[in-house]
Structure formats: structure tokens, C-alpha cells
Symmetry: C2
Subunit: 223 residues, 2 copies
């Protein structure tokens, strides 16, 4: 135990947002080697005495200028631990997935050029970050089928078209409008408001909102 040397511990955060209708991930540009100048997830060291969530908050602020509280939802994903992930030595990374609305990324010189990139068209990424994003995306696809978690990606009030479009962007396939509406409304996660969204030269769309602005899990059962 006294001669025991642990691996380095790091965190990586996959922050998803719907940017111009596309599911997108927040990436920074690495300031140092290895992978200097290459795009990467915001991540960094986790010191003894801080939780991984603490580390996520610290890193997100210092590298991307975003406060943890700007994420509407965050959950731990998976811990990536292969010995060769980091060329400098064994680094075990606890990954998180965060979801947020359309947020403003500050243009601060101290930051590492944070930007959102559409998931369907990612740049070259450092480390095993492609795998981490892919894992997060798969998890999100599952999660939207049995929870209200898309709430975290949408504005407070939204139209059913927006909602459907969010599902389509995440699942990366198109859905039937009538069936989607019928099914989603029957889940009872969302309520109609009295307000409408007027957009252009066409019929205005009714605005809806989620009943709960926190995770709600639908039970699925065997008998």
C-alpha cells in the first residue's frame, strides 16, 4: 500500500447542445502537447480531495468558460482506463455527459478556443475522445426513449415541431409527425400552454412545456 502508485485520474466532459438544429459537442483546442492544437473534450486532472464533478466544474470553467450551472443536466457516463490512452502514461478518465440549451460561449483569451461542433461532422480528436463521444451519443439515444431528458436541450417553451426535431437530430433519423405527436403526448411528460409561436407566413404553433424540469424516468416492465 505504501509502494502502491495509482494511475493519474482525469475527467472528460461531453457537453451536448442543439446548435442550429444539429446535435453538437463542445470541444476545446489543446494548448499543449500531446495533441497540441488538436480538438478535444474539455477535461483535465482530478486531484485528491475533489470529486470528479468538482473537477468537471473546474475544467469546464477554466478551459471553456462555462459554469456547471449552465448545464441543465449532467450525469456520469463511463470510466475509460486503457493503459495506452494517454501517451504520457496511464491516465484513467471518468467521463460525464452534460446537456444544455443554446448558450453563449465567452470569447476569452484565457480559454482554449471552445466551440460546438456537430456530432455528424467532427474534427480530428485527441486521445480516445471519439469513443467517449460515441458512448455518450449512444447513451443519449437510449435515454430519450425512456426519460424526459430532452427537456435539458430545449427552451422552456417549445413547439412540437421543435421537440420532434430534437429527437430527429439526436437519433439521426426522421420520424412520422402524426405518430410522434400522438405517442409523445400520451406519455404525459409535457403540457400544452395557451401560447403560440409565430414564426413566418404560416400557421402559428402551439407552445408546450415539460411538466418537470428535472429527470423523469418512465418505467418499463415485464408483466
Amino acid at each position: 500500500m505504501s509502494v502502491y502508485t495509482p494511475p493519474i485520474l482525469t475527467v472528460d466532459n461531453v457537453v451536448f447542445s442543439l446548435i442550429a438544429g444539429d446535435l453538437s459537442v463542445l470541444l476545446i483546442e489543446r494548448a499543449n502537447d500531446p495533441f497540441k492544437g488538436v480538438r478535444a473534450l474539455p477535461g483535465g486532472y482530478n486531484a485528491a480531495g475533489e470529486t470528479t464533478m468538482d473537477a468537471v466544474a473546474r475544467v469546464l470553467k477554466s478551459k471553456a468558460g462555462i459554469n456547471l450551472s449552465e448545464l441543465n443536466y449532467i450525469e456520469q457516463l463511463y470510466t475509460f482506463d486503457t493503459v495506452a490512452r494517454d501517451p504520457r502514461g496511464h491516465a484513467v478518465s471518468v467521463s460525464y455527459m452534460g446537456l444544455c440549451r443554446d448558450i453563449v460561449i465567452p470569447l476569452d483569451k484565457g480559454l482554449q478556443n471552445p466551440q460546438f461542433f456537430p456530432v455528424k461532422n467532427l474534427p480530428k480528436l485527441a486521445y480516445d475522445h471519439v469513443d467517449i463521444i460515441s458512448y455518450a451519443h449512444t447513451r443519449l439515444c437510449f435515454k430519450i426513449t425512456y426519460t424526459n431528458v430532452v427537456w435539458a436541450l430545449l427552451p422552456n417553451m417549445f413547439t412540437l415541431t421543435q421537440l420532434q426535431s430534437a429527437y430527429e437530430s439526436i437519433l439521426m433519423k426522421s420520424l412520422d409527425k402524426r405518430n410522434f405527436r400522438k405517442k409523445f403526448l400520451s406519455l404525459g411528460l409535457v403540457v400544452a400552454s395557451k401560447e403560440f409561436f409565430k414564426d413566418g407566413a404560416h400557421r402559428p404553433a402551439r407552445l408546450y412545456k415539460f411538466k418537470k424540469q428535472s429527470l423523469e424516468v418512465l418505467s418499463r416492465s415485464f408483466d
Copy 2:
């Protein structure tokens, strides 16, 4: 980075098995303080240069006398990282869930008294191991509703009654026999054999087996 001190990294393994029909967890008895003599999950340090799965294999063998290959299934669960989990200092634990059939635990003096305990009646446990087991149990309950993962807990050939009983033990509720059979058979995960299991003074039960002895995930979709 040079002054950076990581937390200790550990692994903990929740091994489930159906013992006398009850969902049970493998526990050892701690040899040293803290929690000396208290029951705990088999777990231990993870050194730099070994993956968490390596560490799980090592610990399982050295503390419980079980080879990793005796587990039919294993997956990573969650990483527990609160600063106060371990009274000795910050220790981050990557937890795994393993599933196995009725296996023989060796009675070796070098081992830490490994034994299976029914989940519904656990002894006092060290650290946050109750939480880890509870997390694993919840995950397993979900997982059996959309995968064939119970295969890993059952013998190669089994009766539908055994299968249903496995579900009931895990979910901790009783299921309707006719509906269970109808539904499960319609999933197409399992095939009937020509063989029967003769047990006592009653009609013999047909034996079934899983088509795949590896994880199969049923897709659930939106439209």
C-alpha cells in the same frame, strides 16, 4: 502537473449469482482496518499500468479465489468518488457488476472468507458498498428487461419455470406464468430443446436454452 496528487484508485466488484433461488452477492470479510471483520465487496487497489478489469481479476482471485473467467458476464457500473468514502483518504472506486452461475467458492485459508449473501438480507457492509450493490441491482433490473443477460445466471439448459423464477428473484416481484411465457418466447431469445427435466412427482418440464451465450440487446424505438 508535477505537484498534482491524484486520489487513490480502487475497484469494487458486485458479483451476483442465484443461490437457492435467491439473488445473492459475493462478499468477503475485511482482514484489516478500516472495517476489520466487516463484510465488503471484493475490491482493492488499482495500480498504474493495469486496467480496472485487470485489477478486478487480481482482486477476485486473491480475495475470493474466483477466476474472472468463471463470470459469464461482467460490465463496468459506475465510479464512486465522494471524498469521504474511505476514512483513510480520498479513494475513487470504479465498480463492476459480474454475473455467474452457481459456482464453488474455494475454502482456502488465504482467502477472506468469501460467501454469497442474499440481496434481500445483507449483513452490515463496509464503506458505501450498500450503495454500490443497490446501484448494481437497479441496473440489473433494467437490463433484464431489454437484454438476454439472465443467460449469465442460468445453467445452459433450463426450464421456463427456472427462467421465470430468475426474473422474479431479480425484480423481487411475482409474475404471471402465462403472460411471462408468452412474452418471453415472443422475444425470440431462447429456443426449446427436445429434452425434459424430470424433477419429482409431476409433469416433466421442457428444457430451453438461449440462442446466444453473449449479450443480446433488444432495440426499443421511437417510431
